[in-house]
């Protein structure tokens, strides 16, 4: 024991037990393990964060992949028939940086797509880009052929493309879309302004889930109108023909055709001259069809009545000018006779009973001097003088010296026959209850009744008799208008724009229609060149075909005409 204590401050020999030693070792190992595990988790966690930060590169030539497959809602007519649908078509693209042999790729591609320019294609495929379009919107057959070539770096992507199964028949209503499926004209453009563009931007407009858009158009009526107007172009060697039909109670446009037209499936065909929409963006002097407006104004103001007579013996003199009648009777005419014989003198006298200011105010009330609120973007502002002089009021009373679009005329005729409520036309479906909220009273119901009688009278005994022969039994009535065209600042006496504005069936009118035939020639030696012979007969033929489709049964009973046109005014 002494020896042990004598050891001078020696380090105490710590002798751990084996158990303790092993315990320490284990603790150290655990520490290392924990560190390793923590590091492992840190790596995994870091990777997760990294993955979360990755932004997927989906840019294709400046567009997102969503945009090129962006779809548009199908457009249906009022009976549910498709007027425009989306089809999925393959589009050819290339990844130039993955193409190994450009020359070979160009040579092979041109075996399938010979219309591609060799130099252009070579430039296109050379370089280091990741994506270039080669040709968009191809057919599945071409896709198969190109795939069989097996060129690396060439592939297809499916795009949405607009297709119009009706071809050119409803071209001016539908308009067209560009290669990116955006509306550029017609109702397509209007839809984009409303909502579709927004949906496409949000990336929501994909797949087939979009609710179809229902138009007011009836494709059957549209087809008949198109057919008859194309026929009128050859029959009367006209330079243009147009027509529109409207439901007078709802303002729905049932058909709208303007010839020459274009094929919306080939948007380039819309760029051809003269294919503009004559119903909305063409403005014309309405000629005698405007007499209905003048007479409605005077009857409504109470300054003229159906039993009044007007002196049409001599022309009306304004300074050096004398306005005379085309088919002059040169006697005293009753108001229905003024209408029936389309007397310019009589109409001026009727206008004069209400005065030029009141007449001008009536034109404003009938919306003749403002741009129509309508879905189609192609609209023109009518030209109606701000104030009338004595002469301009006189000429305006029979539709000269002012220009309005046929759509303006149509809406006015609808108001004249529906009981006196102006309703703005629309291309979307609308029911009577909704339309009634938009009604704007412009003439009294009894004036509307009188106008109906006059229109039917004109079909029975006046310039509409050619028309009535074609559409016998359907109680059509209307007014012709033969307006001399202004060529180099003068009225031409062999170039006319002919109109027929009508409504049917007049015992309980439902539809109004305006037909325009531009510069018609007589059909044969026996026929004339005034509106009754062309625009009128086209109207008759259209009504004869469409009335049964619209659920109007013919009725030949004299009593019905007696009821529409009382004996007193015949």
């Amino acid at each position: 024991m002494m020896a042990v204590t004598a050891e001078p401050l020696a380090q105490p020999i710590a002798l751990d037990g084996t158990r303790k030693q092993r315990g320490n070792l284990t603790r150290a190992r655990i520490r290392w393990m924990v560190l390793a595990v923590v590091l492992g988790f840190a790596v995994v966690g870091g990777r997760l964060v990294q993955l979360g930060m990755v932004v997927q590169d989906d840019t294709i030539e400046g567009q997102t992949r969503d945009a090129i497959t962006a779809s548009r809602p199908p457009i249906l007519d009022r009976n549910g028939l498709e007027m425009a649908v989306d089809i999925r078509v393959p589009s050819l693209y290339a990844e130039p940086r993955r193409i190994i042999d450009v020359n070979e790729a160009v040579r092979k591609l041109r075996t399938v797509l010979p219309e591609l320019d060799e130099k252009w294609l070579k430039d296109r495929l050379t370089g280091d880009q990741g994506f270039v379009w080669v040709q968009r919107e191809l057919t599945p057959a071409i896709q198969d052929a190109v795939m069989r070539l097996g060129i690396p770096g060439i592939d297809f992507i499916t795009e949405s493309k607009r297709f119009y199964p009706g071809m050119s028949e409803a071209s001016h209503i539908l308009g067209s879309t560009n290669v990116d499926n955006q509306g550029i004209a017609g109702i397509e453009r209007h839809m984009d302004r409303e909502s579709v563009a927004l949906l496409q931007n949000l990336g929501l407009a994909r797949g087939n889930a979009l609710t179809p858009v229902e138009l007011s158009v009836d494709m059957r009526v549209q087809h008949i109108m198109h057919e008859q107007l194309v026929d009128a172009m050859t029959r009367y060697q006209a330079i243009a023909a147009a027509g529109a039909m409207m439901d007078i109670y709802t303002g729905e446009i049932i058909g709208l055709v303007s010839i020459p037209d274009f094929n919306p499936n080939e948007p380039a065909s819309a760029l051809v001259k003269d294919t503009f929409n004559r119903i909305t963006s063409g403005i014309f002097e309405p000629g005698s069809t405007f007499k209905t407006v003048t007479i409605a104004g005077a009857l409504d103001a109470g300054t003229a009545s159906m039993s009044d007579t007007f002196d049409a013996r001599y022309g009306v003199r304004f300074g050096r000018y004398t306005i005379d009648d085309f088919h002059g009777k040169h006697r005293i005419l009753s108001l229905p006779e003024v209408y029936k014989y389309s007397s310019n003198i009589g109409t001026i006298r009727i206008m004069q009973t209400m005065g030029k200011e009141a007449f001008r105010a009536f034109l404003t009330r009938m919306h003749f001097d403002k741009r129509m609120e309508f879905e189609l973007p192609e609209m023109r502002v009518p030209t109606v003088p701000k104030e009338f002089s004595e002469v301009s009021a006189a000429t305006a009373s029979f539709g000269h010296g002012l220009s309005v679009s046929p759509l303006h005329l149509l809406a006015a005729y609808a108001a004249f026959t529906n009981g006196g409520n102006y309703i703005e036309p629309t291309l979307y479906k609308r029911d009577v209850a909704d339309a009634e909220k938009l009604y704007e009273r412009v003439i009294q119901p009894q004036t509307s009744m009188a106008i109906r009688s006059l229109m039917r009278l004109n079909a029975l005994e006046g310039s509409g008799s050619q028309m009535d022969k074609e559409a016998l039994g359907y109680r059509v009535g209307g007014k012709t208008g033969t307006a001399e065209k202004v060529i180099n600042g003068r009225y031409s006496n062999n170039k006319n724009t002919n109109f027929f504005a009508s409504a049917f069936p007049l015992d309980n009118p439902r539809y109004a229609m305006v037909i325009v035939v531009d510069e018609p020639q007589p059909e044969n030696a026996q026929s004339g060149e005034t509106a009754g012979w062309n625009a009128g007969m086209v109207t008759g033929r259209i009504v004869q075909r469409v009335a049964p489709m619209l659920g109007i049964a013919p009725d030949f009973s004299e009593a019905l005409d007696e009821q529409i046109v009382p004996q007193a005014i015949r």
Partner: protein, 127 residues
């Protein structure tokens, strides 16, 4: 005790590892199946869109009309005329009572061997 626990844990972790791998591979399989299905669906949707467009074309009045015109003669169809429309109101009402006396007389005549139609035909010189 610890030893057997460790062995148990090792076996469990091996089993779980195997399980995780199995799930991973099955998910990969499912994912590729899904991709294939999506592709198939979009392919079929594309075909469907073309078929629908075809159907829409075939239903257009503008498509049907020329076909009818082409076969007008064989089919014997022409646009309907106003005179061809009628209504139920135009049909004569049914007689209030059947004319039983006349019918009895007719049947009796036929029973007796006299056919009134025959007589008319003979009179007209037919037969």
């Amino acid at each position: 005790m610890i030893r057997s626990l460790n062995i148990l844990l090792i076996f469990t972790s091996v089993a779980m590892l195997a399980g995780v791998y199995a799930i991973k591979f099955s998910i990969e399989g499912t994912a590729s199946e899904r991709t294939a299905l999506t592709e198939q669906i979009s392919d079929q949707e594309a075909q469907l869109s073309l078929l629908k467009a075809d159907w829409a074309v075939l239903n257009q009045p503008g498509y049907i009309d020329p076909i009818i015109k082409r076969h007008q003669e064989e089919l014997g169809v022409v646009p309907v005329k106003q005179e061809q429309f009628g209504s139920f109101a135009d049909l004569p009402m049914r007689p209030a009572k059947p004319d039983t006396a006349a019918m009895d007389a007719l049947f009796q005549a036929i029973d007796e061997g006299v056919d009134p139609i025959d007589a008319i035909l003979e009179l007209e010189g037919i037969e």
